[in-house]
């Protein structure tokens, strides 16, 4: 296990009377790609600004390698930032932009040139060294901003929604490049984004935030498959949530428990599996991703216990067919199915009656009071 590089200990910050963070804790390990994910206004950018030193906490400690840096000025921290707007100096050439940090730290001039060119080569912009930022495209500016930050060999690189200004294709490409760069350099990256897809594909670990509170920290897979609460579940992709009550504990072993749960929706009892321990009588939420669901036409089968609904909307997504289904009591659920090669014309008619099941064992169950 890598050692901890950066820690927040009970950090609080207010703007005027508005509490942005209260008793906030954070651990970032050395060398990881760590993402702060949350909706706008959740405090993720504030956390980034606290790490960079653009804000000072009202209370609490910010530790880098175990030393409190909460009072240290931004210019003295071995941390660099890639800004959302790139913030390249318009009056300096690409070369001088990248050399700026080295000049400020009074690096010997014989060392500056090779290091700047190395950084520019790394982002494949060596031949643009003499250009001014105004002569570059968005993606090139982005790469200059990255080179300008990493050339200083920071302990921590902060990226503030750095890809959000790029178009879709370029963003995908930059995601791969960033991840590659991070592995190559071994620098700890802290990435701020509201884009859950971006977070899932790039991060080693993700911290999901809402209203200045950490909701869940974990690997992308844990967060996607085992969301800690309804906010995380809904924020990270689409999810269907069903209310249920534990009727009986079937068996519990060291890894998981098997339970019989009664679903109000559909008036049925099903066996569910969960790593969490429940007792009979507990109210739970059963969460199912759209791709966990299986749909059957109802015409050829008699009505059986289960979720029954009508197809409301079909969205062709290229790889998948996404259907919105309205259940009997009005709840809307989303199902996502991959195309079957054997049935290329597979499609639903609107208002078609269907019966919905899921791949058993794929459900994620949390206690209802955790919401």
């Amino acid at each position: 296990m890598a050692k901890t590089l950066m820690q927040f200990r009970q950090v609080s910050l207010k703007f005027d009377t508005q509490e942005i963070l209260t008793g906030f804790d954070l651990d970032i390990k050395d060398g990881e790609f760590f993402t702060l994910l949350g909706p706008s206004g959740c405090g993720k950018t504030t956390v980034l600004r606290l790490i960079a030193g653009f804000e000072q906490p009202d209370e609490g400690q910010i530790l880098l390698d175990g030393h409190n840096i909460a009072e240290q000025l931004a210019e003295h921290r071995p941390i660099n930032t890639v800004f959302q707007s790139y913030a390249l100096f318009p009056h300096l050439s690409v070369f001088d932009n990248v050399a700026f940090g080295l000049k400020m730290s009074r690096t010997p001039s014989t060392e500056i040139k090779p290091r700047v060119m190395e950084a520019l080569e790394m982002v494949r912009l060596a031949e643009f060294a003499d250009r001014k930022p105004a002569q570059l495209s968005g993606g090139q500016k982005q790469r200059v901003a990255i080179a300008r930050a990493v050339v200083n060999r920071p302990r921590l690189l902060l990226l503030d929604e750095s890809l959000s200004a790029l178009d879709y294709k370029l963003r995908q490409q930059m995601q791969i490049e960033l991840k590659h760069l991070q592995r190559q350099l071994g620098i700890t990256f802290v990435y701020v984004t509201h884009d859950q897809e971006e977070a899932l594909s790039m991060s080693d670990r993700i911290l999901v935030m809402n209203h200045g509170q950490a909701q869940q920290v974990g690997a992308p897979r844990d967060i996607y498959e085992s969301p800690a609460n309804e906010f995380v579940a809904r924020f990270i992709g689409e999810i269907n949530i069903f209310d249920a009550r534990i009727e009986q504990v079937v068996s519990i072993d060291e890894q998981q428990g098997r339970y019989l749960a009664y679903f109000d929706q559909g008036n049925m009892t099903r066996e569910i599996v969960s790593e969490t321990r429940f007792e009979a009588g507990d109210k739970v939420k059963v969460m199912l991703r759209p791709e966990d669901l299986r749909i059957e036409f109802l015409e050829d089968a008699p009505e059986k216990p289960g979720f029954i609904g009508e197809v409301q909307e079909r969205n062709y997504k290229g790889k998948t067919l996404d259907s919105q289904i309205k259940l009997k009591d009005g709840q809307l659920i989303l199902a996502s199915e991959f195309f079957n090669e054997n049935e290329p014309d597979f499609d639903y008619k609107l208002n078609q009656k269907v019966w919905i099941d899921w791949v058993h064992g794929w459900e994620h169950v949390i206690k209802a009071d955790l919401l």
């Binding site: 960079a52 210019e75 941390i79 660099n80 800004f83 400020m104």
Partner: protein, 276 residues
């Protein structure tokens, strides 16, 4: 130039009426230019005219320029004006740039009041400013002369510098200063390596504006200076009261050339600033 090119733009009328319309446009334009520049042309021409009264052309001469250079009072006033202009413009630019940066960068209690006060100085009629200065200098017992004049000129130039530089700063990406700090620049180095070079076009045009304002101010100056330190506009003003001497024509021609040079320089600098 936009207005002119619009005037000259193609007309969709028939050929004959189009020709008339075009001729009308040229005539109109000519009239405007004549109205604007004829007096100046007369002045320039008369500065080379042998005739003392300038009613008719009596041959080319440099003698008014010679007389001008030999007129010690007038030349003293000229150099006084240049000195006050250079000093006032320089101090107003230094103070104004720092003030614009403070207004841009920091939030402080009287920020709005401070920037509002600048507009008050800029908007108030010269005569009001002039009397205000006079009252203050009298109350403080400051002798009217070089120092009182300099202080007054710095004050009325200041808001123009602040507004020019502030507008430029506001056009910047707000993260630039943080980016410089993030890369290890102290507050002072951020100012000298990022803020100042980037606002240089505005700083230079603020300086030129101040210099011009100082150079041709009559009203404020006539209240706050004394006989010990006479400046050009006041000297000229007192000379022309007894009739326009051809020396004044020569002087005005010299000043005209100076202003054209300044305007061209300012335009070049602004254009360079825009291309960045």
């Amino acid at each position: 130039m936009i207005a002119i090119s619009n005037l000259m733009g193609p007309s969709k009328e028939g050929k004959g009426s189009a020709r008339w319309a075009k001729a009308g446009q040229w005539l109109f334009l000519g009239a405007i230019f004549f109205y604007l520049y004829a007096p100046i042309a007369v002045l320039v021409v008369n500065s080379f005219n042998q005739s003392k009264y300038g009613h008719n052309w009596k041959g080319f001469t440099w003698k008014w320029y010679e007389k001008l250079l030999n007129n010690q009072n007038l030349m003293d006033a000229f150099w006084h004006s240049i000195a006050i202009g250079l000093l006032a413009a320089t101090f107003a630019t230094l103070l104004g740039t720092l003030m614009a940066y403070a207004l841009y960068r920091y939030n402080f209690t009287l920020k709005r009041v401070t920037s509002g006060m600048l507009f008050v100085v800029m908007m108030s009629p010269d005569i009001v400013l002039a009397i205000t200065f006079l009252v203050i200098f009298m109350a403080l017992g400051i002798h009217l002369g070089f120092w009182s004049l300099l202080i007054a000129h710095i004050t009325f130039c200041l808001p123009f510098v602040v507004i020019t530089v502030y507008a430029r700063l506001n056009d910047f990406d707000g993260n630039l200063i943080e980016a410089a700090r993030d890369l290890g620049a102290s507050e002072a180095r951020t100012f000298f390596t990022v803020v100042m070079p980037m606002s240089m076009p505005a700083i230079v045009s603020g300086w030129l504006l101040s210099f011009t304002l100082s150079l041709d101010d009559v009203i404020v100056s006539s209240f706050v200076t004394g006989p010990s330190y006479e400046i050009l506009p006041i000297r000229v003003f007192s000379m022309v009261r007894v009739g326009v001497s051809p020396e004044v024509n020569a002087l005005a021609t010299g000043l005209l050339i100076l202003s054209v040079v300044l305007v061209v320089v300012a335009q070049l600098i602004l254009r360079k600033g825009k291309s960045q």
